[in-house]
C-alpha cells in the first residue's frame, strides 16, 4: 500500500536520518521525499510503500506517532488515496 508520511516540527540536525531509520526498521520503503524549511519549521513529505510492514496499518501509524512524540515532531502516515481523491480529477 502506498502511503504518505508527513513530518512537521522545529528543524534540527538528523531528522531525516531518524525518521528514515524508523521506517527502515518497520520495513517501509521510501519511494520519494520532498522537504522544505520555512523559518525554523521543518516539513517533510515522504511517499512510501508499506507492503513490507507485517502488521496492521493502525499499528504502524501508532508507532510512528509515538516515535514522533519522542522526537518532539508530528509524524503521521495516511494512505495516498485520500490526497489523490482530493487533488486529482
Amino acid at each position: 500500500m502506498r502511503a504518505i508520511v508527513t513530518v512537521i516540527g522545529r528543524d534540527r540536525v538528523g531528522i531525516i536520518a531518524e525518521v528514515s531509520g524508523a521506517l527502515a526498521a518497520a520495513g517501509v520503503n521510501i519511494l520519494d521525499i520532498t522537504q522544505t524549511v520555512t523559518r525554523e519549521y521543518f516539513t517533510m513529505i515522504m511517499l512510501t510503500d508499506t507492503s513490507g510492514f507485517g502488521g496492521a496499518f493502525s499499528e504502524l501509524a501508532d508507532s510512528l506517532e509515538a516515535f514522533g512524540e519522542k522526537l518532539g515532531m508530528s509524524i503521521r502516515i495516511q494512505r495516498e488515496d485520500i490526497f489523490e481523491a482530493m487533488h486529482r480529477v
Binding site: 520532498t34 522544505t36 511517499l47 496499518f57 488515496d81 485520500i82 490526497f83 481523491a85 482530493m86
Partner: protein
C-alpha cells in the same frame, strides 16, 4: 508525486477546519423480521441489526486511521418500523424501539433511525400504532430516532397526520420534561422524505433500497468558509466557483470512504449525501459561511439569497465528485447545532419566520428549534403544515424538528449536549391555528404533481 502544498492543505482542512466524514450509515432492511408475536419480531429485529452491523464501527475506525480523516458518526437506519411491526399483536410499539436501542448499543452506533411511518396519504393500522407509540418509545430509549412523512408532492398533505404529529411532538416533550424535551430532538416530521438519507434523526431505509447498503454523509462548513476567505470582496461568480471547488474535494473524499467501507463490509455502496452539516464547535458553522459572504449576521436580509447560492454551489461542485449522489444533499440549518445560528437567534436577528424562508432554498427545514413549552399542539401542527406546503409545492424535502421545551420561555436556553448543541427558545407567532388544524382531511396535491 503529489505536491507538498496539496498534502499540507488537506491536513490543514482536517486539523483546523473540521473537515470530516459526518456519518457512515448502514441501511438494513427489516422486512424479513415481521412476526405474529411482538417478542419474536423484536428478537428478529435485534438479531438482524446486530448481525448486519457487527463490523461497521470497527471497519470505520480502520478507515479513519488509514486515511487520517475522522468519521464522526457511525449509524444504522432500518425499514420503517410501522411496516415491520404491523403484522404483530403489539399495540404499543415501544418494544420494537427498545430492541433497536439494544442493538444500537451492542454494535456501538450512536443513533439508529427508522422508528418511522409514511402516512402522506393515510394511516394503516401499524402506522397509527407507531405514531401513538412515538413519545414513549423516544422517552424510554437513548439512541432511537423517529420520523414520520406526512406529505409528498404527489399525494398532497395529510392534515390528519399533521394534527397528530403536533400532539405527538407535545407529548414527547412532556414525557422528557426533565431533559428539556429531549425526545423531540430525535423526532422529524417530513414532507417528501427520501429513502436513502444517512443523516439523523430522519434516516430510514426506504422500500426501494436493497437488503443492506452503505450511505455516506460528508460535511465541512469550516473548509468552505475558509476557502471563501480567499474570495473576499469579489463578485458572487467567484464565491460560487470557490464553493464548488471545495465541495468537489470534500465529496471526492466522501466517495473514497464510501467505496472503501462498502468493499470492506461487503455491502453495496448506495449514495454520498453532499450536505454541509454544522456542529456546535467553533468554525464548523453554516451561518459563518453566509456571514463571510457579507452579512453581519445570519438572519439579516440577504440570508435567503446567500443560502440559495451556497446550496446550489455545493450540489454543483459535489455532483461530479461522486458516482451516486442522494440523501438530502444541501446545506443544513439546525439552529441548536450551529454556533452562528445560536448567536443570531439569541440576538433576535434570526427568527422562525426567516428560517422558514430559508427552508425554501436549502436542504431540509426547521431543524432543532426550541419554542416555548406552552406552545399549543395546534400551533406546532400549523408550523408543520407550513413547512410541508413549502416542500410539496417546491418539490423538495422539508422537515420539522421542533422542541416545545417544557417550562421554558423565550430567552431561556435548552442544552441538549454533544452534537445536538444548545437551543435558545425562540418566539412563535401569537395567532391561533386551532380551527385550521381541527379541519383535518387532506390537502390535495398541487397541479404540478400531474407530470405524466
Amino acid at each position: 508525486m503529489l505536491n507538498i502544498n496539496e498534502i499540507l492543505e488537506t491536513n490543514e482542512m482536517i486539523d483546523r477546519q473540521h473537515l470530516d466524514i459526518r456519518t457512515v450509515t448502514m441501511g438494513v432492511s427489516l422486512r424479513d423480521c415481521a412476526a405474529d408475536s411482538a417478542d419474536v419480531a423484536a428478537r428478529k429485529i435485534y438479531d438482524k441489526v446486530t448481525r448486519s452491523a457487527a463490523r461497521l464501527v470497527r471497519v470505520c475506525e480502520e478507515i479513519e486511521r488509514e486515511f487520517g480523516i475522522p468519521i464522526v458518526n457511525k449509524r444504522v437506519s432500518v425499514t420503517p418500523i410501522a411496516a415491520v411491526a404491523e403484522s404483530s399483536d403489539a399495540e404499543d410499539y415501544t418494544v420494537f424501539a427498545q430492541a433497536l436501542d439494544r442493538a444500537a448499543k451492542n454494535v456501538g452506533v450512536n443513533f439508529i433511525g427508522g422508528f418511522s411511518a409514511l402516512v402522506h396519504k393515510g394511516f394503516t393500522k401499524g402506522d397509527a400504532r407507531l405514531i401513538a407509540s412515538i413519545p414513549r418509545a423516544l422517552a424510554e430509549t437513548e439512541r432511537v430516532c423517529a420520523s414520520v412523512n406526512v406529505a409528498t408532492t404527489r399525494a398532497g398533505i395529510n392534515m390528519d397526520a399533521v394534527r397528530r404529529m403536533g400532539e405527538t411532538v407535545k407529548s414527547a416533550a412532556e414525557l422528557t420534561a426533565d431533559s428539556g424535551g429531549f425526545a423531540c430532538a430525535k423526532l422529524v416530521v417530513f414532507a417528501n422524505a427520501v429513502e436513502d438519507n444517512p443523516f439523523m434523526a430522519g434516516a430510514f431505509h426506504g422500500s426501494g433500497e436493497p437488503e443492506c447498503v452503505i450511505n455516506v454523509g460528508v460535511s465541512g462548513p469550516g473548509a468552505v468558509k475558509n476557502a471563501l476567505l480567499s474570495a473576499r470582496g469579489q463578485p458572487f461568480d467567484a464565491v460560487a466557483e470557490t464553493i464548488k471547488r471545495t465541495a468537489f474535494r470534500v465529496t471526492r473524499m466522501g466517495q473514497l470512504v464510501a467505496r472503501e467501507a462498502s468493499s470492506r463490509l461487503g455491502v453495496p455502496f448506495g449514495i454520498v449525501d453532499l450536505s454541509l452539516a454544522p456542529t456546535p464547535a467553533a468554525g464548523d458553522s453554516v451561518a459563518e459561511i453566509l456571514e463571510e459572504m457579507g452579512l453581519s449576521s445570519v438572519g439579516a436580509h440577504g440570508t435567503t439569497a446567500a443560502l440559495a447560492l451556497l446550496n446550489d454551489a455545493v450540489k454543483k461542485g459535489g455532483v461530479m465528485a461522486s458516482s451516486h449522489v442522494g440523501g438530502l444533499s444541501g446545506a443544513f440549518i439546525p439552529v441548536s447545532e450551529d454556533a452562528g445560528m445560536i448567536k443570531a437567534a439569541q440576538s433576535g436577528v434570526l427568527t422562525i419566520e426567516k428560517l422558514e424562508a430559508m427552508t425554501c432554498v436549502c436542504s431540509v427545514g426547521l431543524d432543532m428549534i426550541a419554542v416555548p413549552g406552552d406552545t399549543p399542539a395546534e400551533t406546532i401542527a400549523a408550523i408543520i403544515a407550513d413547512e410541508a406546503a413549502i416542500g410539496v409545492v417546491n418539490n423538495k424535502t422539508t422537515a420539522v424538528r421542533i422542541i416545545p421545551a417544557p417550562g421554558k420561555n423565550v430567552g431561556d436556553v435548552v442544552d441538549f449536549g454533544g452534537l445536538l448543541g444548545t437551543a435558545p427558545v425562540m418566539p412563535v407567532s401569537g395567532g391561533s391555528a386551532a380551527d385550521f388544524i381541527a379541519r383535518g382531511g387532506r390537502m390535495p396535491a398541487p397541479l404540478h404533481s400531474l407530470r405524466n
